[in-house]
């Protein structure tokens, strides 16, 4: 649970910066920031499940 929390905090803070420095209207930047946040979370979940099944140990 702690890992998920830190991952969400990381994605949120990064998305804030990406959204603020993006070009366009406030609405466009908000949507872009939310999209970046969503992409971070989805990619992290997918990679997490892929790594779960790989026999690294």
């Amino acid at each position: 649970m702690r890992h998920l929390l830190w991952m969400v905090i990381f994605a949120g803070l990064t998305a804030v910066v990406f959204g603020v420095v993006a070009k366009g209207t406030d609405r466009h930047r908000l949507i872009y920031g939310l999209k970046v946040l969503g992409e971070f979370l989805v990619v992290a979940f997918i990679l997490g499940w892929i790594l779960y099944f790989l026999p690294f140990r």
Binding site: H3, W6, F10, V16, V17, V20
Partner: protein
């Protein structure tokens, strides 16, 4: 192309360079100096929070020390340049020798490292944004 670059160089006001340096030194300051309060607080808040959380999580900052030789010293250069992007917070830590110890035994060590590295990189983005606004290239 060369003419265009020359024109852009000539049209960049000196103030923009100062704003760029201020934005690098103190995350968020570049925007606050230009009265972009919302942007400054969001960018500065995100970068500061990320940097402090990185230290709290036990991450470690990179630097080139005298003990590193050859390729090992070069390997430190890339993450150090990322950390250096945080500006004065990094320099303060360097002067006070804070955050340079490795706490690899902590569960959150890698998270801390990532937070510290990305805080610096995001501040480079914020710095470029502040510079562009000051130079009139962005609204």
């Amino acid at each position: 192309m060369a003419k265009q670059i020359e024109r852009e160089k000539a049209s960049t006001p000196g103030k923009a360079w100062g704003i760029g340096v201020a934005a690098w030194a103190v995350p968020g300051l570049g925007h606050l100096l230009q009265k972009k309060w919302g942007r400054g607080l969001l960018l500065g808040g995100a970068v500061w929070l990320m940097f402090v959380l990185g230290l709290v999580l036990g991450g470690h900052l990179f630097r080139i020390s005298g003990t590193d030789q050859g390729l090992s010293a070069l390997l430190q250069l890339l993450p150090m340049s990322a950390n250096f992007g945080a500006g004065l917070p990094y320099i303060f830590c360097w002067l006070t020798n804070t955050g340079f110890a490795e706490n690899a035994q902590r569960v959150t060590y890698e998270y801390g490292n990532t937070f510290l590295l990305v805080a610096g990189l995001l501040n480079y983005l914020a710095m470029l944004d502040a510079f562009d606004i000051a130079a009139g290239r962005k609204q």
